[in-house]
Each structure stands twice: as C-alpha cells, then as structure tokens.
C-alpha cells in the first residue's frame, strides 16, 4: 500500500515534469519524485511489528524480526541529502536563468535559440 502511494507520487511527479512549463514547478516535481522514491525504499525494508533499529534499554537484544531493515534507511539518509544538494543547485541555476532569459517559463524565455 505504501508502495502504491510512492508509485502514484512518482506518477504525479512525472506528470508535473511533463506538463509544467515553469521550470520551478519542474524542480518541485523532481523533489516530489525524490520523496516518493525515498518512501519506496523505506517501505522495502519495513517489517511488520518491527522496531526502529536502535538498541536501547527497551530492546537490548538482537532478535529475528524485532527490527526493521536498517540498510534502506541508511541509503535513504544518503539519498535525501543528495536530493537536497541537487535541488539547491537547480534552484540557484534557476535564479540565474531568470536573470539571463528574463523568465523561467519555457515559453517566455528569451534568447534560448537553437
């Protein structure tokens, strides 16, 4: 079910990329896709009734099925940060695109020949 949510979110993100002429919207769509992929990855590692993979006084022992899969979480941690880096880069590019082409709407941009 969480899979479905993430699949639909990816679809919405792709839809956004396809339809939106505003480059900022496209960046937002990308961010939605990122989030969706992250949800998917976490869902892959979920175990019913599993705990967060942190040892504490409450769960001092390792037991089978006691924890959810920690590896996807570690991957998502990385993926989130990577996503942020790329998005920040995109946002700063858009600031400059706006400066240079006087618009960030694909149809109104000036000087985008060829």
């Amino acid at each position: 079910m969480v899979f479905w949510i993430s699949a639909i979110l990816i679809g919405i993100g792709v839809y956004g990329l396809l339809t939106q002429k505003n480059l900022f919207k496209q960046l937002i769509s990308l961010s939605i896709i990122d989030t969706a992929v992250n949800i998917f990855i976490i869902a892959v590692g979920y175990v019913d009734n599993g705990k967060a993979p942190i040892y504490s006084k409450a769960v001092p022992k390792f037991m089978e099925g006691a924890f959810v899969d920690p590896l996807p979480q570690a991957l998502v941690l990385t993926a989130i940060v990577i996503g942020v880096g790329v998005l920040a880069l995109g946002a700063s590019l858009l600031v400059k695109v706006k400066e240079k082409h006087s618009s960030i709407d694909v149809e109104n941009m000036k000087g985008v020949g060829e």
Binding site: V14, L17, L18, T19, Q20, K21, L23, Q26, V106, E114
Partner: protein, 625 residues
C-alpha cells in the same frame, strides 16, 4: 614496391616543408620524382609480390600485374605532366605547398591501388588517394568548398559499399586476396550472393568514375577544383574507378562466375546491368555536356560519357570490347588531361572559365590551341588520334554482341562529343577576342610542353598503337578473356577486329594526304580579311562593337555567339529530369530528418526529455514484461 609507396608518403610530408621554404623547388622535386616513377614502373618485374604485413589476421600484400602496370603508367603520364605544368602554374595558387604535398600523396595512393593484391590494401590506398585529392579540391574558387564535400560524400558512398562487399566476401571465404576471391567466386553456388558482392564492389568504381547514379560529383568537383588538378581528377583519379570496375568484372571472371546468368549474347546479367549504367552515363554525359557554358564543367560531363564508354567496353567481356574499354582509359586520360591543362592555361591568363566571356584566343595562345585541338580530336574519336581506335574497338564488340541499342547510344555519344568539344573550341579559341584580353600572352613553355608531349604520345599511339596495345593484350591474357584471339598484330600493322581489321598506318597516311590536299586548297583560295572590330570603340571601353538596330547593348555577353550555342538542340531536352537535383533532395531529406530529430529529441525543454525518458521505459517495459 611497398618501400616505394611508403617513401612517397613520407616524402610528401617532407616536401610540404621544402615547399614551405620554396614551393618552386618543391614542385620541381615533385616533377623529378614523378619522372623517376615512370621509369620505375617499367623496371619492376611482373608478378612481384610484396607482403606489407598482417592486418586483422589477414596478410596484406602488393602484387605487380599487367593491369597494375598499365594503369600505373597511364596515371603517371597524367600526373607527371600536371606536375611539370604546376611548376609555373602554381604561382596563381594560394596553397602551393599543400598542393605539392597532396599531389604526391595522390600519386602514392593511386599507385597503391593499382598494386594492391587484396581488397583491404586496395581500400587503404584508395582512401589515401581520396583523402588527399579531397584536400586539394577546396583550394579552388568559392564553389570548390562545396565541391570537396560532394566529392567526398559520393566517393564515400561508393567506397563503403565496396567495403561492405569486401567484408561480405571475407565472411564467406575468409580471404581478401583477389586471386583467391576470384577462384572462390567462380565455384560459389549462391547466385544472389555473387551478384550482390560483385555489384557492391563495382559501386566504388561507379562512384569514382562517375557512372550514372553517382555521376553528379564530377560536374561540381571537376568544375571547381584547382584548374590543373582537374586534369588529374579527370585524367587519373577517375581511372581508379575504371580499375575497380575492371576488377569487379574481369579480375573476378564474370563470365565464369555468372555462367548460368547469361542474359543476352553471352553477356552476364550483372555485366549487362553495368553496361546499361554505362550507356545511361553516355547519354547523360553527352547531353549535359552540350549545355554547359562553363568549359570545365563541360569536359567534366564529357568525362561522365567517356567513363560510360570504358564501362560499356569492359562490361562486354568481349576481347575487343575489353581491350577497347581499357585502351579508352589511356585515350581519355591523355585527352582529358590535355584539355584541362589547356583550360588551366586559359584560366591562368584570363581568370575566367566561362566560355561566353572568352573568344579568339587562337591568336594569343596558339600552342594551347593546338594542344586543345588535337586533344579534342582524340576525345571525339577521330582518326588519326588514338581515341578513334578504342572507340572503334568498342563499336566492333557491341555490334558483334548484337547490342544494337547500346551501340546506337555509343554512336550518339560520339556525335554528341563532336558537338560539345566544338563549343569551347569555337567559344574560347575562335571568334572575337574580347577587348579585355587583348594583352593576353601564351603561357610559358614549362606549361605548354607537358601538353604537347601528351598530345604527341596520343598522336603517335594513334598511328602506331601497338606499344600500348601490347600490355592490354597481356592483361586480357591474364584475365583469360578469349586468350586465343590476337588483336594487336604489329607485324602486319593491323589491329584486328571481328569484322575486318584496322591499319592505323594506312589511315594515317590517308589523313595526311587529305590534310595536305586541304592545305593546298586553303593556300590556293583567297584568304579571309581581318577586320579590327575593336577599333572604333577603343576609348569607350567594354562593349564590343556590336549594334542592334541602333540600340546600344548593355549586356554584351548575351550576344556573344557562344551564348546558347546549341540553343535549338538544348530546347529539345530543356525540361529534363535532373538526377543531380534528386540527389540533392536526398541530401536535403537527411538534413531534414536531422532537423526533425534535433527538434524533437535534442533541443526541447526538460518536459520533452522527461517524456522521452518515460516513453523509453514504457516501450522497453511493453516489449519485455
């Protein structure tokens, strides 16, 4: 042999630097090297084989054959003449050093082609020749840039078809060596494979010698290349194509290979197809040549027609036809070279190649005129020049084979050639001398001597053709085309045909007699008077002294009698379909597809990129899931 070629290639680069210091020294060295090469080709014993090395696990080798000798000799004659010619001519050029380098490379490449024993060696040297000639062509005037591209592309189309064919052969027989291939092909049961391969190999020759569907590059390339280099292009490089055509029908013995495909009087179907192409080239070349106002383009089209003759001759695989075709290589090479050199001399002095802007140069450049006159006599196939003999042989073969349509076309081409070679003669050398050329001088001896030498060779071979026929006889024996049949009969002074023989010496004597009679008559009759048409207008300048019912003419070139020289004749095929346009349309088509791809896939916004990414995934998903 291989050392010779490598040395030539290396020295061409060295010569660039020599020529950078003094291009005249470079070109003199070139001419000397060329002369040495002519000497050299006689000394190499026939049948010499040299292994170059291994490539892709196959041995590459050179082999000195009769055919190679003949073609090398003809090529060198032309090239060396041009090299001597260039010693002076080059001072009208912008890149003399590069010219010197590349012409030596062309020489090396062509010799390599003629020496190659296997298809890959042939391809390598072929590409060297193409590459270096491609770099000379754009040294001409503005249009020549485009010409180089067209030349390269057409050549590449043919070359890559050749390569495809070569590899098809290789994948079947595992060899590139031509004798081996010939053996294997003769025993191969698959007809369709053989047809495909032979035609693919022939494609390179078709493209290079300007045979019909790929002939269009000749006009633009010959017409716009540096003037003296046009002589090499038409006289020599085009003959590379004839050589490859000869390989595809004679070295690969088409009579044996297609023994079960004999279509008509013993001519195999693929040969027949090639002959048809040759005939088409004759028609197109002749008709288009008649129309041209640009004298170089005119002869370019004539090269198309003559390439057609060669192909028709070789394609028949008849002893006379084959020898006629091969001999025509020699004749056309010399004639075309002389004609282009004559034009180069004219352009050298007058800086134009439009016939309608010229005239009356006979008084200013008599030697050039003589050279041109004899060359066109040879080209048109009039005795006593050698051009006649080859055409005669081809006709004989065609008539004997009962190919009357082709024969008719060949005759038509011959008559057409009278028409078109006369046009520059009348327009450039005869008629009125435009005022602006009144100070034109004859070109220096170093330029006219090579022309005269070539003309003299052609003339002598017309009278006594046996020295040049003998190697051709040897070639024919090599290829096993009716080896029992002897054509060149030097003892009896005869060139034997099927329906009678040709005694060139007698014919020559007859012609000389006729000429003497004509000369006597000429001296007896009253001489024409000369009127100086320029006189009354000496001060006013440009317009020649022509008036039309009191109106002054503002565009005198329209009234030059060479404008619309054959207007009546041309009108008959005014609205002809243009193959050249068709090819341009093809090029335009690819260009447009490129634009379309560009517009759809590469230029657009991120949305479009996403679209294609999504589509790709979906299509693969649809295919694979």
């Amino acid at each position: 042999m291989f050392t010779l070629l490598v040395a030539l290639l290396i020295f061409s680069v060295v010569n660039y630097f020599i020529s950078k210091a003094s291009w005249r020294v470079g070109s003199i060295i070139n001419a000397l090297i060329g002369s040495y090469l002519i000497f050299q080709v006689f000394t190499i014993p026939k049948g010499t084989e040299v292994t170059i090395g291994k490539f892709l696990g196959e041995t590459l080798a050179l082999q000195w054959t009769n055919a190679g000798f003949y073609f090398s000799f003809v090529s060198l004659l032309v090239i060396v003449a041009v090299m001597f010619f260039a010693i002076k001519w080059l001072d009208s050029q912008k890149h003399p050093a590069a010219f010197n380098m590349f012409i030596l490379m062309v020489t090396a490449g062509s010799l390599g082609v003629f020496m190659a024993k296997d298809l890959i060696t042939l391809y390598i040297f072929w590409e060297i020749a193409v590459l270096s000639s491609m770099l000379i062509i754009p040294m001409g005037k503005k249009e020549s840039r485009k010409a180089a591209v067209v030349y390269a592309v057409m050549s590449a189309v043919g070359t890559y078809m050749f390569l495809y064919g070569a590899f098809m052969i290789y994948s079947r027989y595992g060899t590139f060596s031509m004798p081996e291939i010939a053996k294997n092909l003769a025993n191969d049961p698959s007809t369709s494979f053989k047809v495909a391969v032979v035609l693919l190999i022939a494609a390179a020759g078709i493209a290079k010698s300007g045979i019909f569907p790929l002939h269009t590059w000749l006009r633009i390339a010959h017409g716009n290349a540096p003037d003296a280099f046009s002589a090499v292009l038409s006289g020599q490089l085009v003959k590379l194509g004839s050589y490859v055509l000869m390989i595809s029908v004679a070295v690969f013995p088409s009579l044996k290979i297609f023994a079960n495909l004999k279509l008509y009087s013993g001519v195999p179907a693929p040969n027949y197809f090639l002959i048809a192409l040759g005939a088409a080239s004759i028609i197109i070349g002749t008709l288009m040549a008649i129309k041209q106002d640009d004298m170089k383009m005119l002869i370019a089209y004539s090269s198309v027609a003559n390439g057609g003759y060669i192909l028709v001759g070789i394609g028949t695989m008849d002893p006379l036809g084959f020898e006629g075709g091969v001999l025509h290589v020699f004749n056309h090479a010399l004639a075309a070279a002389v004609i282009f050199m004559a034009f180069a001399s004219v352009v050298y002095r007058t800086h134009t190649k439009k016939i309608s802007e010229l005239g009356g140069l006979i008084h200013k450049m008599p030697i050039t005129y003589i050279a041109y006159l004899f060359a066109i006599i040879s080209l048109a196939g009039i005795p006593p020049m050698s051009g006649f003999i080859s055409k005669w042989m081809i006709y004989q073969a065609l008539v004997r084979k009962g190919m009357f349509i082709t024969a008719a076309i060949a005759f038509f081409g011959s008559i057409g050639s009278f028409l078109y070679v006369f046009r520059p003669l009348a327009g450039v050398f005869l008629g009125q001398l435009p005022r602006k050329y009144k100070d034109v001088k004859e070109v220096p001896p170093i330029m006219w001597i090579p022309m005269l030498v070539l003309v003299a060779i052609s003339f002598v071979m017309g009278v006594w053709p046996f020295p040049i026929l003998q190697p051709i006889e040897n070639m024919r024996a090599d290829f096993g085309i009716a080896p029992s049949f002897k054509i060149a009969d030097a003892q009896n002074w005869l060139v034997r045909g099927f329906s009678g023989s040709w005694n060139p010496v007698i014919v020559f004597n007859l012609f000389i007699t006729g000429f003497i009679v004509a000369y006597i008559l000429y001296t007896l009759f009253p001489k024409p008077k000369k009127v100086d048409l320029l006189k009354p207008h000496k001060e006013e300048g440009a317009p020649i002294n022509i008036y039309t019912s009191g109106e002054f003419i503002y565009t005198p070139e329209l009234y030059h009698y060479n404008t619309k020289f054959y207007a009546g004749f041309e009108r008959m095929y005014e609205k002809h379909p243009s193959w050249e346009k068709l090819l341009y349309m093809l090029a335009k088509f690819f260009h447009d597809v490129g634009e379309w791809i560009h517009g759809w896939f590469f230029r657009p916004s991120p949305s479009a990129y996403t679209f294609w990414l999504a589509m790709t995934i979906l299509i693969i998903f649809w295919v694979r899931w």
